[in-house]
C-alpha cells in the first residue's frame, strides 16, 4: 500500500521539525553560554587604523611620514558645557563655530559620538587634554596625518583624503567604510593597497552605558592592525628641491630618469604647491583654492601635459632613418627645394652635424626618404604605407602610448598613423606633402615630458629602456614590481646611436644649447622649440650625462619661454650638474634661472594675452619680475 507511505514521509518531516525545535530550545533557552544579554553587556567592534607606509628617497631620506593627531569627538546627549566662553577659548574656536558644530553633531545623532574638531596636533592635544576633563561627553580618538619633510613633489606623491561617496559605493570588495581615508592621486593612489596596511579589529564588551568591560571572548577573535608597507623611491630629494627652485615662476615640467634602471630621480610639475596643504585640518579650503588657481597646480604636467616635441624629435628621426637605411652616418642634405625654413648654420654634411645644428631641411629629407622607402608607384598609397611603417618604428620608443609609470592618469599623447589622417583627408587623399611637419616634431604629434625624458634615457642606453617608475621597491622585503625590470628594446642598433650622440654633444658644445654648457661634464643634449597656438613657443631640452657613462637623462619643458636654449637647456644642465657633482659652478646662470619669470608670458585659457600671476595657494607667491632676455643670459 503505497498510499500509507505518506505517513512515513509526514512523520519524517515532523521528526526533523521536532529535532530543530529541540535544538533551538537548547541553543536559545537552556545553553546560556551564548547569551551575552544575561550579563547585560553588548559587544562593540573597535576598528584600529594602522599607520600608512612611509616613503623614502634614493639616499634613504624620509619624504612622507605620519604624525599622530587627535580627533575630538562629542556625544551630544552627554555633553555638558557650562562655561561656553572658556571652552571656546581653550579650543581656539568662535562661539558660533561651537554652536554650529554642536548642532551638526546633534542632528546626526544624539547618542553616538560625532566629530567635533579633527586633527588636533600633539601640542594642541597636550594643552587642552587636562581642561577637557571638566567637560563630559567629549572624547579624543587617535588618528594620523600625512606629513612631508619638504614642501615638494606634491603631484607625484598625491594626497590622501576621506573616501568619497561614489568611491565607497564602487569599491569591489567592501574594505572601506564611511570617513575612512584613501589615497586619491599620485603614489598614494597607485600604491594604496600596499600603503594602507591591514586594519585591526577588536571586539570589546560594554555595559549599557558604554563603559568598557574588557575584551570579548578573551580577545580570541581580535586581529592586530598591521602597518602599511614602506615605499622606496628613486627620487633624489636634494635635486628635486633644487629643480623646484629653478622652476619657480615658470609653467612646465622637469623629469629626470636614471637610464640604467628607469628610476625617476626628479619630477617637477610647475607651478606646484606644498603637499602639507592637503594634509591638514584645512583640506577642503586649501583644495578649493588649488582647484580655482588658473595655473592648475593640481595638474600633474610631467605625465598629463602634452606638447609638440619640436626639434628634440629629430633625434628619433635620425635614429630610425639610420636603422631603416635611408641615410648613412655621412649623409648630407642642403636647404635646396625644401618647404621648411631654417636658420643660418654651417653645412650639414653628416647626421651628427644635422643634429648639432638642428637643421630642418635635413630632417625633412630624412622623413621624406622614410615615407617613400617602398616600391609603391602611387604617391598616395606609398605615403600611407610609409607612414604606418614609420609609426611602428616610433612606437617602440614609447611614443603614442602609455609607458606604464606608477602614477595615475598618464596621458598617451598622439602619434598619427594612416588611420588618423584618413579621418581628416579620406583614404589615399593625402601624401607626404600633407604630413611633412612631423619630420621636425611639429604637426599632429603630442608627447608628454615623461616620454621625452625616456627618449633621452633610450639614447643614453643606446637602444633600450626600462619603464620609468617612481617607486623601485616595496616593503621590508624590498619587493620589486616585475614590470619595472623588463628591458624594452627599440629595435635600433647601438652603432646608429654614435652619430646622434655626437651631434647632441655638438649641440651642447657649440650648437643650439651652447650657452648653458657645464665645465667638466660631458653632456649630450638637444633643444626643442615647440610651436603652439597660445603665445610664445615652449622651450624644450632633453639631455643625458655624463656621455661616457650616463647616470641621468633629463627632459625640461618651460611653457612660452621661447627657444629651447633660452630656458629649458640652462635649467636641465644646472640640474645635471647638481645631481652629478652636488655643486654649481656657473653661479651667474643659476641666479638668472632662479629669478627668470616665464609665468607672466603664459596665456591662460580664455584670455588673449598674458596676465600677471595672482597670489594663490602656491608654495611661494609669484613676484612679478621682468622676463629675462635670452641675450643677457651669460654663458
Amino acid at each position: 500500500m503505497l498510499e500509507n507511505r505518506r505517513f512515513v514521509i509526514i512523520g519524517f518531516f515532523a521528526l526533523v521539525g521536532l529535532i530543530y525545535l529541540l535544538r533551538l530550545f537548547y541553543l536559545q533557552v537552556l545553553d546560556d553560554s551564548y547569551s551575552i544579554e544575561s550579563s547585560s553587556n553588548s559587544i562593540k567592534r573597535v576598528i584600529e587604523i594602522p599607520f600608512r607606509g612611509q616613503i623614502y628617497d634614493r639616499t634613504g631620506k624620509l619624504i612622507v611620514y605620519n604624525t599622530p593627531v587627535y580627533d575630538l569627538l562629542v556625544t551630544p546627549y552627554k555633553a555638558k558645557v557650562d562655561d561656553t566662553l572658556r571652552f571656546c577659548r581653550v579650543l581656539g574656536i568662535e562661539r558660533r563655530d561651537f554652536d554650529s558644530l554642536m548642532n551638526a553633531a546633534s542632528s546626526y545623532s544624539r547618542v553616538k559620538p560625532s566629530l567635533f574638531l579633527r586633527q588636533l596636533s600633539k601640542e594642541d592635544f597636550a594643552a587642552i587634554q587636562d581642561v577637557m576633563v571638566d567637560y563630559s561627553g567629549f572624547e579624543f580618538a587617535k588618528s594620523s596625518l600625512r606629513t612631508y619633510t619638504a614642501p615638494t613633489l606634491a603631484n607625484t606623491l598625491g594626497y590622501v583624503s576621506e573616501i568619497t561617496k561614489s568611491q565607497l559605493e564602487k569599491q569591489e570588495e567592501p574594505y572601506y567604510r564611511q570617513s575612512d581615508y584613501i589615497g586619491q592621486s599620485g603614489i598614494e593612489k597607485i600604491y594604496e593597497e600596499e600603503l594602507r596596511g591591514k586594519r585591526g579589529t577588536k571586539f570589546v564588551m560594554q555595559n549599557v552605558s558604554g563603559v568598557y568591560k574588557g575584551p570579548w571572548k578573551g580577545g580570541e577573535l581580535d586581529t592586530m592592525a598591521v602597518a602599511g608597507e614602506n615605499l622606496y623611491s628613486g627620487i633624489d630629494l636634494e635635486v628635486q628641491q633644487y629643480a623646484d627652485s629653478l622652476m619657480v615662476n615658470k609653467v612646465g615640467s622637469v623629469v629626470a630618469i636614471e637610464p640604467k634602471t628607469g628610476q625617476i630621480i626628479s619630477m617637477v610639475s610647475a607651478p606646484t604647491y606644498d603637499p602639507n596643504l592637503l594634509a591638514s585640518r584645512y583640506f577642503s579650503k586649501n583644495f578649493a583654492a588649488l582647484i580655482r588657481n588658473p595655473y592648475k597646480p593640481l595638474f600633474n604636467r610631467p605625465v598629463m601635459a602634452s606638447y609638440r616635441p619640436g626639434s628634440t624629435f629629430k633625434l628619433i628621426q635620425a635614429l630610425i632613418g639610420l636603422e631603416e637605411g635611408v641615410i648613412t652616418p655621412s649623409s648630407g642634405f642642403t636647404h635646396a627645394n625644401c618647404p621648411v625654413g631654417c636658420h643660418n648654420h654651417p653645412a650639414t654634411g653628416t647626421v651628427a652635424l644635422g643634429v648639432m645644428h638642428s637643421c630642418n631641411p635635413y630632417f625633412y629629407n630624412v622623413f621624406r626618404r622614410m615615407i617613400y622607402n617602398n616600391n609603391i608607384k602611387n604617391t598616395f598609397k606609398a605615403s600611407a604605407a610609409g607612414l604606418d611603417e614609420w609609426h611602428d618604428r616610433i612606437s617602440k620608443f614609447g611614443i603614442g602610448q602609455r609607458l606604464g609609470i606608477d602614477l595615475p592618469s598618464e596621458y598617451k599623447g598622439n602619434l598619427p598613423n594612416k588611420k588618423y589622417y584618413d579621418r581628416y583627408y579620406g583614404e589615399y587623399r593625402w601624401k607626404f606633402s600633407n604630413i611633412y611637419s612631423l619630420s621636425i616634431g611639429e604637426g599632429e604629434l603630442l608627447i608628454t615630458p615623461l616620454k621625452m625624458a625616456n627618449v633621452a634615457a633610450i639614447i643614453a642606453n643606446k637602444g633600450y629602456f626600462y619603464t620609468p617608475h617612481v617607486i623601485h621597491s616595496i616593503g621590508d622585503k624590498k619587493t620589486v614590481k616585475p614590470e619595472f625590470t623588463v628591458r624594452h628594446e627599440t629595435g635600433v642598433s647601438a652603432q646608429y646611436f654614435e652619430p646622434v650622440i655626437e651631434g647632441m654633444i655638438g649641440a651642447v658644445e657649440g650648437g643650439t644649447a651652447r650657452r648653458s654648457k657645464v665645465q667638466g661634464i660631458n653632456i649630450a643634449g638637444k633643444t626643442g622649440t615647440s610651436q603652439n597656438k597660445r603665445g610664445d613657443d615652449h622651450s624644450i631640452f632633453i639631455a643625458f650625462a655624463p656621455v661616457e657613462d650616463p647616470k641621468i637623462a633629463i627632459a625640461v619643458f618651460v611653457e612660452n619661454a621661447g627657444a629651447g636654449g633660452v630656458a629649458a637647456a640652462p635649467i636641465a644642465n644646472l640640474i645635471i650638474e647638481k645631481y652629478l657633482t652636488r655643486k654649481i659652478t656657473n653661479k651667474a646662470l643659476e641666479a638668472n634661472m632662479l629669478k627668470a619669470d616665464y609665468m607672466s608670458k603664459v596665456i591662460l585659457p580664455g584670455q588673449k594675452k598674458p596676465v600677471p600671476p595672482v597670489d594663490t595657494a602656491k608654495k611661494k607667491p609669484a613676484v612679478p619680475v621682468t622676463p629675462v632676455q635670452p641675450s643677457t643670459v651669460a654663458q
Binding site: L2, Y20, Q28, D31, S35, S42, K44
Partner: protein, 427 residues
C-alpha cells in the same frame, strides 16, 4: 466549466496564508539584517536589500497571477518544453554567464540577474511528474524505468556542477522523497541513510574501533538471529553486510582525504567540530550559533540584534537570514518559522494525496520535497546540525531568482490543485 469558476474559490488558502506569512517575516528580517543604525534607510528604500526584496515580492505577485490565469493543462502539456528551455539556459550560462562570487551562474537581463540553476528544480519536477504520469511506469518492479528519471536529474545536475554551484545540485537529493512515495523500495533510502550515518561516525571516531564494533554487532546478529527469529541462512548475508560496512568506513577515510576538495572537507569537518577552525570555515557556524543562541527565549527585539548588526555573520540577508530571526525574535520567533515550514510541507503532502491525477500528485510531492530539503539544510546549517551549503531558505532569503522560482513552483501546484474537482482520474 472550470474556466467559469473564480480561481479564488478553489485555491488552497492555508498554503497561500503560510506563503504570505513567510514572505512578510522574511522581508522584515532582511531589513533588520541590513539595517545599519548609523545610516538609516527606510524599508522601502530600493538601495538596500529590503527595498529590493519588496520589488521582488511585487514582481512575484505578477508572476503568480499569470500562473493562476494560464490553463492548468498547460503545465502538464508543456512539461518537457519547459525542461528543455531551462536546460538551454543552463548551457547558455556556461558561456555567457556573469561571474558572481566565484560561480559562473548568472544571466543578466539589463538590471536583473537571474540564476537558471534556481529554475532547474521546477523543470525537473515537471519532467519527472510528466514521465511518471504514464500509468505503465512502475518504480516497484521495473528497474529500467528508473533510467529516464536518473537522466532527467543528471543532465541539469551535470551542467550546474560545471558552473560551480554545488549547493543547488544537492537539492536534487530531495527527489528521493517523491520516488519513495511512488514505489521505490524502502531499502534504498535505508541504505542511503545508513551510509550517511556511517560517514559521520567514521569522521568522529577512530576507524579501527568502528570496525571492531561492527564485527561485534555482526557476531551478535549471527548468534542471536536463529534464536530470535528461528530462521537460518542469514549467516553469509550478515558477514557480507558487515564487510561492506567496514569497507565503507575505510572508504570514507580515503574519500575524505583524496577525493573531496579542501573547502568541502573543511565544511564537513566543521560540522562535527566547529572549534577545529574557528577563524576560517568554522567562523560562519560559530557566529551563526552565537547569534541565534544570544536571542534567548523572546529575542532582543526588532532591529536590536547586536551580533548581526556588526556583520559577524556573513551573507546575512541571504543564506543566513535565519540568524536574524533567531537573534531578534528568540526561541518564539524561530519556533514559529520552523512550525510554519513543517505545516506548509505537511499541508502540501495532504494536498498532493488528494489529487486524482498521478501527474499532480507527483508534482505536489516534488514541491514538498524541495521545500523540505531547503528547510532541512538551511536551518540545519545555521543551528550547526548540517554542513554549510549555500542554499537559500525558501521565501525568506533575499534574492529574486530564489523567490521567483519557489513562488512559481508552489503556485503551479496550487493552480493544478484548484482545478482538481474538474479533473478526471487517470492513474
Amino acid at each position: 466549466m472550470a474556466e467559469n469558476k473564480p480561481i479564488t474559490k478553489n485555491v488552497d488558502w492555508i498554503v497561500v496564508l503560510i506563503y504570505l506569512a513567510c514572505l512578510m517575516i522574511g522581508w522584515v528580517n532582511i531589513y533588520a539584517a541590513v539595517y545599519n543604525p548609523e545610516v538609516h534607510t527606510s524599508m522601502f528604500d530600493l538601495s538596500n536589500n529590503a527595498g529590493k526584496q519588496l520589488m521582488w515580492i511585487g514582481t512575484a505577485a505578477v508572476l503568480i497571477i499569470c500562473i493562476l490565469v494560464v490553463d492548468y493543462k498547460f503545465y502538464e502539456s508543456f512539461s518537457f518544453i519547459i525542461y528543455a528551455v531551462v536546460i538551454f539556459l543552463l548551457v547558455v550560462v556556461l558561456f555567457a554567464g556573469s561571474n558572481i562570487n566565484g560561480s559562473r551562474s548568472w544571466i543578466k537581463f539589463g538590471p536583473i540577474s537571474l540564476q537558471p540553476a534556481e529554475f532547474s528544480k521546477l523543470a525537473i519536477s515537471l519532467a519527472i511528474s510528466k514521465y511518471l504520469s504514464d500509468p505503465a511506469i512502475s518504480l516497484t518492479r521495473k528497474f529500467k524505468d528508473y533510467y529516464p528519471i536518473l537522466g532527467i536529474i543528471a543532465l541539469p545536475a551535470f551542467l550546474i556542477l560545471l558552473s560551480n554551484e554545488t549547493g543547488s545540485m544537492l537539492v536534487f537529493a530531495s527527489f528521493a522523497i517523491v520516488l519513495y512515495r511512488e514505489g521505490m523500495p524502502g531499502f534504498i533510502p535505508a541504505i542511503g541513510m545508513t551510509m550517511a550515518a556511517l560517514l559521520i561516525i567514521t569522521l568522529l571516531f577512530v576507524k579501527w574501533y568502528i570496525a571492531g564494533t561492527i564485527v561485534v554487532i555482526a557476531c551478535l546478529v549471527i548468534w542471536l538471529m536463529p534464536v530470535m527469529t528461528r530462521r537460518r541462512g542469514g549467516l553469509w548475508a550478515t558477514i557480507l553486510v558487515a564487510f561492506i560496512m567496514i569497507g565503507i568506513v575505510f572508504g570514507v577515510d580515503f574519500f575524505m582525504n583524496n577525493v573531496l576538495q579542501k573547502h568541502q572537507r573543511g565544511r564537513i569537518m566543521v560540522l562535527l567540530d566547529p572549534d577545529s577552525d574557528p577563524r576560517g570555515i568554522g567562523w560562519n557556524v560559530i557566529q551563526s550559533k552565537i547569534a541565534i543562541g544570544s536571542g534567548g527565549f523572546i529575542g532582543k527585539g526588532f532591529l536590536q540584534g547586536t551580533q548581526t548588526k556588526f556583520d559577524f555573520v556573513p551573507e546575512q540577508s541571504t543564506d543566513f537570514i535565519f540568524c536574524t530571526v533567531g537573534e531578534e525574535h528568540g526561541f518564539l520567533g524561530s519556533a514559529l518559522v520552523v512550525i510554519l515550514f513543517v505545516s506548509l510541507i505537511a499541508r502540501l503532502v495532504v494536498l498532493a494525496e488528494r489529487q486524482r491525477s498521478r501527474f499532480a500528485r507527483v508534482y505536489g510531492y516534488c514541491v514538498a520535497g524541495i521545500i523540505f530539503f531547503h528547510f532541512l539544510v538551511n536551518i540545519g546549517m545555521t543551528v550547526g546540525l548540517m554542513p554549510v551549503i549555500g542554499i537559500p531558505l525558501p521565501f525568506f532569503s533575499y534574492g529574486g531568482s530564489s523567490l521567483w522560482s519557489f513562488s512559481i513552483l508552489l503556485f503551479i501546484f496550487l493552480k493544478i490543485d484548484a482545478q482538481r474537482p474538474f479533473t478526471l482520474s487517470r492513474g
